[in-house]
């Protein structure tokens, strides 16, 4: 196995693990809603009925999809 192929694989592996770690940190941050540290999340945003908790749910879904999009772009960029 050549050094360049090993380096390429290791680089890709680091990218995979980095994205997974970021995703898991964000994913498990949702638990904050059930702890004292996240009590502020149950407050309403301005005069609307939407709370920080609900906004967090929607944002997490959108962030996860954005992370996947970024991962795809970086993977393609790495290939080219």
């Amino acid at each position: 196995m050549t050094d360049s192929s090993v380096a390429a694989v290791h680089k890709k592996t680091r990218l995979r693990l980095l994205f997974t770690a970021v995703h898991l940190v964000l994913y498990f941050s949702f638990t904050l809603n059930w702890t004292g540290w996240g009590s502020g999340l149950s407050s309403r945003l301005g005069s609307s009925e939407i709370t920080g908790s609900l906004l967090m749910f929607v944002l997490l879904v959108l962030i996860f999809i954005s992370l996947e999009t970024l991962f795809m772009v970086l993977s393609r960029w790495g290939r080219s």
Binding site: V6, V9, L24, W34, S53, V58, L60, V61, I65, F71
Partner: protein, 556 residues
């Protein structure tokens, strides 16, 4: 609403959530009656059946070998496969169970949505490309590339069959109960109908027909939830805040439903749910099997990406449906029986909200979609179980990877028939049982056995067969033991006052235990086979990233 009622609803929603899981029998014990025979729903369902049988007939002409049977010849595009994965995963369970839990407790129900959605990015980041590059038909092909193929295939095929059978029991009991509620059909008739149709799809059309059934069903489900969400928002001036206001006014807990704490108050319980759902989903054999239906690694990655888009959209739409069900069902007397109970229980809240905003036609449509969903999910499970028997055990272990192709295909079809019959018999046997714990086992076993083996095979050079088998045994045994000692069996089934283990989903503890044993036993392994396993890693790693050109890249 007292805690025991909420506990039952949580249990029902949890077993409803995953692909392959329908209503648990116990979850439907406390319902307020059933629907009358629904001709609109039956008519729409017959249309779906007629169309999907036509697709099966078309697919059967292309299904002439084991390859086309297991992976549709690898010719499904990434977008199609993403839709099929979404169809496999966005079950009636998700639609009915999460909406029902939100109806009961508002925001807390969303933990199931996020838990279910969170698995897809992990599947894409870690597995999609590498699994596609290394396997042919099942994820077991991937791990047997570097580990001792016979023992590791037997162990993982056994865990696959455990997962599939447990899912099927839950699914068949759930299907019978759900169809009884939605269509007014007898339980056994519903089981025979589901089994007969699934056998037709899978035995004749294989993965190709299963894929298209799942695509069609996903399209119908997405259309249905979108329509309900639009109608709900339209009635609130297209203001989500206004819809939330109506929900707060209608729910006895008032504003509390907009934040956490109505159903759950223990963060560790939340973590147990999150770990089980994320790692359990990523390790499900019938989901991993779908990665082999696409032509290359790029399409495999696109599959996971499109699946995320569809599933993410679905769960955001369910956010509207969940709060909409509180706003439009909770205060409407037509959805309650004389005893003040919601007709069909809280899991029917999604159907009732369809009735509230779309009348009988939308109710019939969504009922038919739920039935179609069960068919799509059971088809995927049946195919996965048949592949474990005929490919992983017969072709790869008994015939040393050189089976007679026609015999293998015949055995596959016979396995499908066997699984179908088993599903019906177990469905009848478990009709009156509380099967919530059976529905728990697949996710926990998947998180504690399948995921660690697959992850360590692909990402750790020191992994050996001995470590994999020891960890798999620990993962399997500890999962079953802790589920038995937990509330679902120790209290609900065996009748003890308190559970010896406090959580329903023990993967937070069993998965780390399994991983630690795998690492410890692998490090301690001084056998010749252990050396081979470690030496196999380098070539496997390059091939996993670069595909079939991998070994050439490595030798260059």
């Amino acid at each position: 609403m007292n805690l025991s009622t909420l506990g039952r609803q949580l249990s029902a929603a949890m077993v409803l959530l995953f692909p392959g899981l329908g209503f648990a029998a116990g979850a439907l014990d406390d319902v307020g009656g059933e629907q009358a025979l629904n001709p609109t729903a039956i008519g729409m369902f017959l249309l779906f059946v007629a169309f999907t049988l036509y697709v099966t007939w078309w697919a059967s002409k292309a299904t002439t070998s084991s390859s086309t049977f297991y992976n549709a010849g690898g010719q499904i595009s990434g977008a199609q496969n993403g839709m099929a994965i979404a169809g496999d995963f966005m079950s009636a369970a998700s639609f009915l169970g999460i909406t029902g839990l939100m109806y009961a407790g508002g925001f807390d129900g969303l933990i199931l949505s996020l838990g279910a959605f969170g698995a897809w990015p992990v599947l894409m980041f870690l597995f999609a490309r590498r699994v596609r590059n290394l396997g042919s038909f099942t994820f077991i092909d991937v791990i047997s590339r570097r580990l001792d193929r016979e023992p590791i295939r037997l162990v993982t095929a056994f865990s696959t069959i455990v997962i599939v059978i447990m899912y099927l029991i839950a699914q068949m009991v759930g299907a019978g109960k759900l169809i009884q509620l939605l269509f007014g059909l007898p339980y056994v008739v519903a089981l025979l109908l589901v089994s007969g149709l699934v056998l037709a799809y899978v035995a004749f059309g294989g993965m190709l027909a299963t894929t298209w059934v799942q695509i069609i069903k996903a399209g119908l489900l997405l259309f249905g939830v979108t329509l309900i969400a639009i109608l709900l928002l339209a009635d609130s001036g297209f203001s989500f805040s206004s819809l939330l206001g109506k929900a707060v006014d209608a729910h006895p807990k008032g504003e509390a439903i907009l934040g956490a704490g109505v159903i759950f108050d223990d963060p560790v319980q939340i973590l147990t749910i999150q770990v089980s759902m994320l790692f359990g989903t990523v390790g499900l054999p019938h989901i991993l099997m779908r990665l082999f239906t696409v032509p290359d690694m790029r399409q495999a990655k696109l599959s996971a990406y499109y699946a995320s888009l569809f599933i993410g959209y679905f769960y955001i739409a369910l956010l509207v449906l969940g709060f909409g069900s509180i706003a439009y069902v909770a205060g409407a007397p037509e959805f309650f029986d004389a005893g003040g109970r919601l007709i069909g229980g809280s899991n029917m809240a999604a159907i009732h909200v369809a009735t509230a905003v779309g009348g009988d036609i939308l109710t019939g449509f969504m009922s038919a979609v739920c039935f179609a969903t069960i068919l799509a999910v059971v088809a995927g499970l049946t195919l996965s179980g048949a592949a474990a028997i005929s490919h992983d055990v017969y072709a790869e272990v008994l015939k040393k990877g050189k089976p007679e192709p026609k015999t293998e295909l015949r055995l596959t079809r016979a396995s499908v028939l066997l699984i179908g019959l088993t599903a019906v018999l177990l469905g009848i046997a478990f009709e009156e049982e509380n099967i919530a714990f059976i529905a728990t086992i697949p996710m926990v076993v998947s998180a504690s056995v399948t995921f660690p083996i697959l992850f360590l095979s692909l990402f750790w050079s020191g992994f050996t067969t001995r470590g994999a088998i020891a960890g798999a045994v620990v993962g399997l045994v500890s999962s079953v033991v802790l589920i038995v000692l937990g509330p679902q069996v120790w209290v609900s089934v065996l009748g003890h006052a308190e559970a010896l283990f406090p959580y329903d989903y023990p993967a937070l503890f069993t998965m780390p235990a399994s991983v630690l044993v795998m690492i410890w036993m692998s490090k301690a392994d001084r056998s010749a086979r252990g050396v081979t396993d470690r030496n196999n890693y380098a070539e496997l790693l390059v091939e996993s990233e670069f595909g079939e050109a991998g070994p050439e890249v490595a030798r260059a």
